[in-house]
Amino acid sequence: MRRLLPWLFVVFLASVPQWMHDQYFLHVLINTGIFTIAAMSLNLLLGFTGQLSLGHVAFFGIGAYTSALVSLGFDLHFNDSYVFVFERKPVWFAFVCGIAVAGLCGWAIGRLSFKVRGAYFVIVTISFAQVMRLVALNWVDLTEGPMALNNIPPITLGIPGIWELTFLRKLPNYYLILCVAVLSYIVIHRLVHSRAGRAFIALRENEPLAASVGIDVTRYLVLATAVSAGMAGAAGGLYTHYVRIVDPDIFLFIYTVTMVIMVISGGKGTLAGPIVGGLIFGMLPQVLREFARPEAQWIIYGVAMMVIVLFLPQGIVPAISALWRRRSGRSPDRSDPESKTMAGLHTAPGAAP
């Protein structure tokens, strides 16, 4: 049953546009989906390795800008005599480039923060996002600075001239994003339930002990950062080719905060947590915009957040799992996919004395 649940949920999501024809609602769902993918990627780091990346939006933005630039083409003027011209490339290729460049940046950040954990990791990632924002603002030659990159082409798949599928309208974008979300989920699911995922969790739970059994902790942190960054880059690419404009504000801190809220409220370190949190906090502002006065919107948003954090400190998904277990009188065991990781971070890691 629990194995089937995610697939039933996917089928449900796939059916939504069939009975829900409101275009604005579809737009909200698309945005929510994009941010949910970003939240899932953040959860891989925050929930499983226990490292908080407060500059996570940097990878999202790098994916967005890279994908936009590769699909638009650009030229760089080094001096009067030499101009580097980059021809526009197919959009699917640009999208893949966005993932790769974001992943590489994640890899580099992971390497840089070689021995940097906890608060220092937070600082390194925040600074990185700020630097990226400044680059996007000031490297006008490349990014058009605050004027933004416009007319970004929508994603197309297929062979040019023979058969092509263009993701221009909302409906195909919705399904594209659903596909990428499912792929991301599968990637995280496989990693987390493997030797590599156990190394992530070991790093979160007790780093000295992890090293004592031969786990190369740094290497696995770099792996997690790279995969997580690549996934955030994919979300960024989907975003650019959907809204078809990108400006430096994509690197704003508030977007990282949104992702963190989604992960924490849903339940960090669980597979379903960022999806539940992402759906709630992705839809909530839009729903409130419909039904509440502007002053009240953010108050309700804030209160909802505080209520969750106060009453369900582990997040929604772990709370539901615990309830479920209590009702069916089961103790956590290995057939329960959430059990290993749901209990969170309440044990103090025993440092080497």
Binding site: V187, R190, L191, S194, R195, A196, R198, A199, I201, A202, E205, N206, P208, L209, A210, A211, S212, V213, G214, I215, D216, V217, L223, V227, S331, P332, D333, R334, S339, K340, T341, M342, A343, G344, L345, H346, T347, P349, G350, A351, A352, P353
Partner: protein, 258 residues
Amino acid sequence: MTKVVLEARNIAVRFGGLIAIVDMNFSVHEGEIVGLIGPNGAGKTTAFNVITGYLSPTAGSIVYRGRDLAGLRSNQIAGLGVVRTFQKTSLFGACSVFDNILIGLHRCGARNAWEILLDLPRVRAEEARLRVLAADVLDFIGLSARRSELASTLPYGEQRLLEVAIALAAEPSLLLLDEPVAGMNPSETASFMELVKRIRQRGITILLVEHDMRMVMGVSYRVVVLNHGRIIAEGTPAEIQRNPEVIEAYLGRGAARA
């Protein structure tokens, strides 16, 4: 005598002005159980930290099976088969007992991230193999009935057993135990002594730090005594218990108890 596996050569450790270890030399032979004893603050845990790469010595070197461990990181030293436990209880608290062992088995797996992402058949085969190994380790240590419980919810004595089980999962050839029976009751200690002997029968060499003299003298082939960072005696348990300097520095009442 059999061949030397671990050799500490002129090890010195200073923390700022505090001298924790002074010119320490000792060796451990293949298949031995060696006890390392001494009063609080003598430098026993510091010695473990140096051997397993958690601390670089101010001077001297550690040689394991002919290989100088200088510059190796803890996980690389574990990779050579030198695995330690910690004085302060140290577990993966939010994970089940079984998952704790699976994490400990990291060294027994070899699948990389690409293979895992593609979910190749050999990934599944390895997972199945690791699960069998984990069940074996739990069986050996006697915690099979607890496999689904969270590590942090185990009673204290079983947590200490689980720590040893995690270390055993990492397939050590030399196992370093730092006060494993501290806080255990006498019957738990007695069964732990049996466990140490069974670990030894698996061909694992053991270096043991412990304050419980009945335990150390009961299982060790040889005992090394550390006082103020200096080795003051070395010999069989019987010799050590008769050594006036050791009685003066450490055993005192303890000798009478043992």
